[in-house]
């Protein structure tokens, strides 16, 4: 790389980082495209711009210098950049894992699930979002078809909690319970519910959902389940 190109690259890295922090999808896409054209490796772009931006946003959020939508928008800008820089083939090598996510049957409150999906995806997970009101079977069909690592079930309404159990029961019936980690969350479900239905994890909020997925993917086999991250309110 020439020195002039070096300057362009570091300018665009800064621009990408800034675009992510601003949740500016278009600028993020542009900067990422230039960086790719300049021949930067995807991993370098991730490590030098995308990850630092998301970490910075996480800190701002914690310090109440940003709100949750800022986090979601940053995540979407980061995702856009990732889309540009990741090769179509072998994309798998760059993702931490695949998560099938949805709000359980009978429940149409999707805000929590949407937040988790956005944040997970910004943190390197490939998300297959089934939407709301998802029947138990659909999680399983999709997880099998997509070769997912994690099934994430959200539930805001107490009466729907019981359908979560059905997902796990059906996995057991099909003898594929150990093929997927099942994680649960949402206003209706507390840590003990994860234990009761035999889920693999529970997280208090979207940020902890990322940690939860990381933990399960990295050393899920050795840990006692469920893994509980955060305190019930």
């Amino acid at each position: 790389m020439t020195q002039a190109e070096d300057v362009i690259v570091s300018k665009q890295l800064a621009r990408l980082k800034e675009a992510i922090l601003n949740g500016d999808v278009n600028t993020a896409r542009e900067a990422a495209t230039i960086l790719k054209e300049k021949g930067l490796l995807p991993l370098d772009i991730v490590n030098q711009a995308i990850k630092p931006a998301m970490d910075e946003m996480g800190k701002r959020y914690e310090r109440l210098e940003a709100f949750l939508p800022d986090l979601v928008l940053a995540g979407e800008a980061a995702q856009e950049a990732l889309k540009v820089i990741l090769p179509k083939e072998g994309e798998e090598a760059f993702i931490k894992g695949k998560v099938v996510i949805g709000t359980i049957y009978g429940d149409i409150h999707d805000i929590g699930k949407n937040i988790v999906a956005a944040i997970l995806s910004a943190n390197g997970y490939k998300i297959i979002d089934l939407g709301n009101d998802v029947p138990p079977e659909r999680y399983i069909e999709t997880a099998k078809k997509e070769g997912a690592h994690i099934i994430g079930i959200s539930c805001l309404l107490t009466p729907s909690m019981y359908y979560m159990r059905d997902v796990i029961r059906k996995l057991e019936e099909e003898n594929i319970r150990d093929k997927f980690y099942v994680i649960i969350g949402g206003a209706a479900v507390y840590p003990d519910w994860a234990k009761e239905i035999g889920a693999d994890g529970w997280a208090k909020d979207a940020e902890r959902a990322v940690q939860l997925c990381d933990t399960l993917i990295e050393r899920g086999k050795e840990l006692p389940k469920p893994v509980i991250l955060g305190e019930w309110r």
């Binding site: 949740g23 109440l64 210098e65 940003a66 709100f67 949750l68 939508p69 800022d70 979601v72 928008l73 979407e76 009978g106 149409i108 409150h109 999707d110 805000i111 949407n114 937040i115 956005a118 939407g131 709301n132 009101d133 107490t158 009466p159 729907s160 909690m161 019981y162 206003a187 309110r233």
Partner: protein, 452 residues
């Protein structure tokens, strides 16, 4: 028939226990006519909706536990709300059986102890955006449930309708103010008007009571969370509440008559406009969700509710009976203040103990709710009303910035809000832009659901 004027001359006139247009219904109950009445709501644990007999039996037990508590405490006026869960709504005859059994219990206590009572049936909005909001199996199930509930003796009919929720959920967590305005100012009122016209037609002897912006403004309130764990700006949650009053008002313009539903915190504004009695919930709804408006909303209530509590047997009795006891002492306090003509003082205490806790409490304080109500009735369309409500809420927060204890980031956000609402596109343009923007991007969004 649009409201063009306020039912109240000024905020000071607004009182708990008194509505300009009181209602009489049920077993001798008078609401808004000089007293505040406890309204208790409960949610069965899942599982029972699989078996009609067990379901009816459980509702009967709940009703008995509440009425027995009322008799034991000497409470003379009681309202119950049965919120249909989805399976009950999908099987309208089940809901009917529940209502009938509950009303039998109420009659027994009316005859034996003279306890006046009524039953509100709140039908679940089971509609799926993908399957049509205005027709089809789900829509029909709702209407059949209303008809059945009314025929079986329900005194009041309510729903938490969800029109606009698909765009609202999407835009709220992306700070997409145009999306929120599209949802609250265009989609939601259109849906409310459509569904309430149908409900009013089907109400029979029951009173079409009212709707709530639960799916919208309460989602924002829950995300706003507390003073420490705020996930979205509280200024935004407050402005959303003000805006949501327009869609809730629409049901009354289509024939609903009150009492409004408890979880519609915007009811303070609605009462000022319509004069109808309102049910409200505050501190005692903490089993359903935390809020920063535990006292202030009592200032305008005619019924005082707990939002909901999961039915369980505990040490102190069945949970609905327990929470009913708490409500009844609160209403006893309010009613004693009316009897002794101290109600304006007690009302002021309710207001001032919360008013400056949070912008959400600030804008529901009667004086400010009056300003928002005035802004709403002065505007012409639902869309303009929604913008006026937002702008007035922003102005109210600005006027009180020095006394509100808010972090800097909230103050900066308020400027963002103001900039947006001072330069909104006109209605047609927003519709056009929004349809283009959200079609495909929000899979559940379908403009034909709103005849757009």
């Amino acid at each position: 028939m649009p409201f063009r004027e306020l039912a109240y001359e000024n905020a000071y006139e607004l009182a708990f226990g008194f509505a300009k247009k009181p209602l009489s219904y049920g077993l001798g109950l008078s609401v808004g006519d000089g007293k505040v009445i406890p309204e208790v709501k409960y949610l069965l644990k899942p599982g029972l909706e699989q078996n009609l007999n067990a379901l009816v039996e459980e509702y009967k037990k709940v009703t008995l536990s509440i009425m027995e508590r009322a008799a034991n405490l000497g409470v003379t006026d009681v309202q119950l709300e049965t919120e249909f869960v989805e399976p009950m709504t999908m099987n309208p005859s089940w809901g009917a059986a529940v209502i009938e059994t509950q009303k039998e219990v109420l009659s027994t206590y009316y005859e034996r102890y003279g306890i006046r009572s009524a039953l509100r049936a709140t039908i679940a909005d089971v509609r799926r955006f993908s399957k049509g909001l205005r027709k089809g199996e789900y829509f029909q199930a709702i209407m059949d449930s209303f008809i059945n509930a009314a025929e079986s003796g329900a005194d009041l009919l309510s729903i938490e309708s969800r029109g606009g929720q698909e765009i609202f959920s999407y835009s709220l967590i992306r700070n997409d103010l145009a999306g929120m305005l599209f949802s609250l100012g265009i989609l939601a009122p259109r849906d409310v008007r459509y569904i309430w016209k149908e409900i009013v037609k089907n109400a029979k002897r029951a009173i079409p009571a009212g709707d709530t912006a639960c799916a919208l403004a309460n989602s924002a309130m829950v995300l706003a969370n507390g003073l420490v764990n705020r996930k979205i700006p509280h200024t935004l949650a407050a402005v959303i509440r003000a805006m949501s009053a327009v869609r809730t008002l629409a049901c009354y313009e289509e024939g609903a008559m009150g009492p409004g539903k408890d979880c519609a915190y915007e009811n303070v504004i609605i009462k000022i406009i319509t004069g109808y009695p309102m049910s409200m919930e505050g501190k005692t709804s903490a089993f359903a969700h935390s809020s920063l408006v535990g006292n202030v909303v009592a200032a305008a209530c005619d019924l005082w509710s707990n939002e909901t509590i999961v039915v369980e047997d505990t040490f102190g009795g069945k949970t609905p009976a327990i929470i009913f006891e708490m409500l009844s002492y609160d209403t006893a306090l309010m009613n004693e203040s009316i009897r002794s003509r101290n109600n304006k003082i007690l009302q002021q205490l309710f207001i001032n103990s919360d008013k400056y806790r949070d912008p959400q409490a600030l804008i529901l304080s009667p004086d400010n709710a009056f300003r928002i109500a005035s802004a709403i009735v002065s505007a012409n369309s639902d869309y303009e009303r929604t913008i006026s409500a937002a702008l007035e809420a922003i102005r109210i927060i600005e006027d009180n910035l020095s006394i509100l204890n808010m972090p800097e980031i909230e103050k900066r956000y308020l400027a963002t809000l103001k900039n947006f609402f001072e330069a909104v596109p006109d209605e047609h343009k927003l519709i056009e832009e929004s349809i283009k923007k959200y079609s495909g991007k929000v899979p559940e969004f379908n403009a034909t659901n709103y005849e757009l």
